[in-house]
Symmetry: C3
Subunit: 365 residues, 3 copies
């Protein structure tokens, strides 16, 4: 029998939802890694995630109702608490079958997102990356958004890890006047994180920052850095300065600190989450709304259609198997693809070798 390659890394944290997706009432339903999940907040605000499938007749629990911190199945009234334990069976003698339990998933709220652990290994909170820079500053200086795209999630990771496309695909607002593409970006790999950094000068400065610089229209030095960590998190920082002495870093430039995170719905569809924190003009709520709307639109109207078309044109999720012609800017994304594949293969191998040392059957992801 041929071993089926595991599709997704599972012993890791994925963004499952925006914090704002869960109010106090809603049973929020979303398919993650091909698994239906229902999420809601307990009365004390703690978010929880359960397999969205009653173990009795497989009805989505999200079609049911809340009863305090419990969820009640719409079909036969079985109730489950947040540990997944069945707490009420209104049928017959009311005895609760021993197997009547729903799988729960560790869910942590951080940086305006809910992070879920779908794998079988114990959830490792220390593995959750720290993006607390998103939390620092005025409430009108940060915004989040979400969109769903009909493409494989690694195509989105590729897109953000290779920013040389900005001068070709995107419009005037984030053009670098051709300064980015000619650079062979610097790759930096530390502890499984992959960083790519560009630095350049342009005149006028990148338009998103131009008005906030001391001398709009005059030359400024810029930097852009993306850092990927498994499975699909990319932290992007970009900044510009006209001070010749200023280090090219967020705190000494006009800049912003973003997070891009993708979660596969399945191999053909991806949940794409995004947050952006800027260090200028922080208190202007209207500007904040306009800024996130613009960034959302750029992806929805410019990157998105390209990636969807690539997904269709590839006919496979294995980019490298198609022998792509690689260029300098692919250094980062290709390294990321290889590292992710190593991580998935390692997870699959570990699952095939149980603690006793006796090899188990390999499972598809």
């Amino acid at each position: 029998m041929e071993t089926i390659k595991q599709k997704y890394l599972t012993n890791t944290w994925y963004v499952a939802a925006l914090s704002t997706d869960l109010d106090g009432e809603t049973l929020f339903k979303r398919t993650l890694l091909e698994t239906p999940v229902v999420m809601y907040r307990k009365d004390d605000g703690t978010p929880v995630a359960l397999h969205d499938r009653c173990p009795h007749r497989f009805v989505p629990l999200s079609m049911g109702r809340r009863d305090g911190d419990q969820v009640v199945c719409a079909y036969h009234g079985l109730a489950f608490d947040c540990s997944g334990r069945c707490t009420r069976n209104p049928h017959g003698n009311g005895k609760i079958p021993a197997a009547a339990a729903v799988r729960t998933y560790p869910l942590i709220e951080r940086h305006g997102f809910l992070w879920i652990w779908m794998g079988d290994a114990p959830a490792d909170e220390s593995a959750l990356p720290d993006y607390s820079r998103l939390d620092e500053g005025h409430a009108n200086g940060i915004a989040h958004t979400y969109m769903k795209r009909p493409c494989h999630y690694e195509l989105i990771t590729d897109n953000v890890m290779d920013l040389s496309h900005v001068d070709h695909l995107h419009g005037e607002i984030i053009t670098t006047r051709g300064q980015l593409s000619p650079q062979v970006p610097k790759l930096n790999e530390v502890d499984g994180a992959v960083g790519v950094r560009w630095e350049w000068e342009q005149t006028p400065p990148i338009l998103i920052f131009n008005d906030f610089l001391p001398e709009p229209g005059k030359t400024a030095r810029h930097f852009l850095e993306v850092t990927w960590t498994a499975p699909t998190n990319i932290q992007l920082t970009i900044g510009a300065t006209q001070d010749p002495a200023a280090p090219l870093a967020l705190d000494s430039t006009i800049g912003q600190y973003d997070l891009h995170a993708c979660t596969p719905e399945n191999e053909d569809s991806t949940h794409y989450f995004f947050a952006t924190r800027r260090n200028h003009h922080e208190q202007d709520g209207e500007f904040n709304r306009m800024k996130i709307a613009g960034m959302h639109a750029a992806f929805a109207d410019e990157d998105g259609p390209i990636l969807d078309a690539v997904h269709q044109n590839m006919g496979t999720t294995d980019f490298l198997s198609l022998n792509p012609v690689l260029i300098s800017s692919d250094l980062g994304p290709v390294r990321v693809r290889r590292l992710l594949r190593q991580r998935i293969d390692a997870e699959q191998a570990a699952a095939a070798t149980p603690p006793s040392g006796r090899p188990a059957l390999v499972q598809a992801g």
Copy 2:
């Protein structure tokens, strides 16, 4: 070679259409058990069913036209009579090829439905269940309806065989005030038919009958009985009485006599047929229309979405393979699933052993 499990029982009667679906003219097209079928009435009113596929170029005959009791193919004018024999070839010398025949299916009209026999064994009219109680009474005391649902047909059978869901899924109109669920229903199996019966008291009585009882709002005794026969027919009787001496049976209660019947279009879609005959307020045509509209809506808006979601969530048609956590009310539906599987397996085995005793190739259903 692996034997493919037969999907459907075929040597049996399925409801193919409502009597009213066939007027005197229409070529009525429907896919049953993955097979396109065309049905129409002969000039004398007799309904007939043919494979909806001309043997020449495989055009649906339902795209053609009637010529008396014959059907003429739209593409090349070949005509077929109700026995499926080609009676006219307007081409060349007009000779009719020996093989030019369309398969016909036995079709019987009974109780406002048309029943079809799709299997290869000779149709056995005595195997048609007798629901003549539907025919007894005023014309305004009976109504029929039909809907198509995107779920496997056995999920609908499960739903009707396990009525403990009424207090959880449905609204005020048919609530038993929680009296039904705590009961372990009585299972009764006779000659391959599976019956489940509940009896209870409630105050006020079930709302569909309350106004027709001597003392609306006061306690009444109720009964509810469902009887399944293969492949998918469920006869349901429900009644209520406030007479302490009255037997809990249709003729001595305010009640109704219903038939639920399902026919697979394919594994992901089901034709659902329903008839209801009541024994009270029989002559009121407006009430009759309102009643059937309400019952149609209850299924379309409440059961239907649940069953469609279960079908999606299961990802298989084999419910028991998913190790469901069973409760007391599953006794009936699970017994029905097992009996139906036995019948299908027996049919498959019989098809594999032709009369001569020589084993034949097993066919997929």
Copy 3:
């Protein structure tokens, strides 16, 4: 390993587009034989065709832009010339990877159509059939049209090769008053071309020609001839005359000279191209528009729905495997199916035997 049957003849000319589909600017995208193709005109008007897939990240080039005669990929700005060679890489040191090339396809403009060669063998311009009769006459005497149908392309070839259906499927406008069906058409096979010819008398004449004959409404002699050449071209000539001495040929009758050509998008969808040239009332542009609109509608509303339904009803693309009941008028279409299959099998066998005589792996089409 089982050899997969090649689906399409590839070393041959297919119509890819109407001449008018390509203006001077557009990057015209179409999927042909399951392959995405982009077509455009060079500044000098020459039409070119490239694989619609950048070799870098597989973006459709049709999403990009023209730069003179070159096409620039929308995603990263790589430019390709009409030979498929990458001419500009704006990234890193600008070096162009040796493998950076797009496959091009020979494309010839003839008779108002663009003809493409998709196969691996060298394009053979002499194999392009000569339909120059389409080009002779007034510009208002010819019209072209296109439609896409969700059916297998051979069903369309069948339809045109067997015109006995006109009296059954089509309306008054092209009825032969039943004269066509009773004929056993003459089959004529020369050099791999298959011709079928009918001759008959009818009163009144076929309505499309009636008004142009000397005595409208009076008996006329008619002929109709279709000639298929691989892969899917059918030239149809039809004419009528009331001169007893006139030969039944286009130049001595009131008639028209048409071309039907199909190109598979895939096994379930076909590009259908059509041109018609008449020899009467040639200068009337309004009549020309009305005539092509009528012919387009006849196919779209009458033949099309039948062929789509046949495609669904067959559940396979291999018509003959279903043991159709054949009639006299199938002589032509069945002969064409067999010849095409022979051509495809021969192409597959040749691909499996490379020049050196060493057998290669057989590829799917």
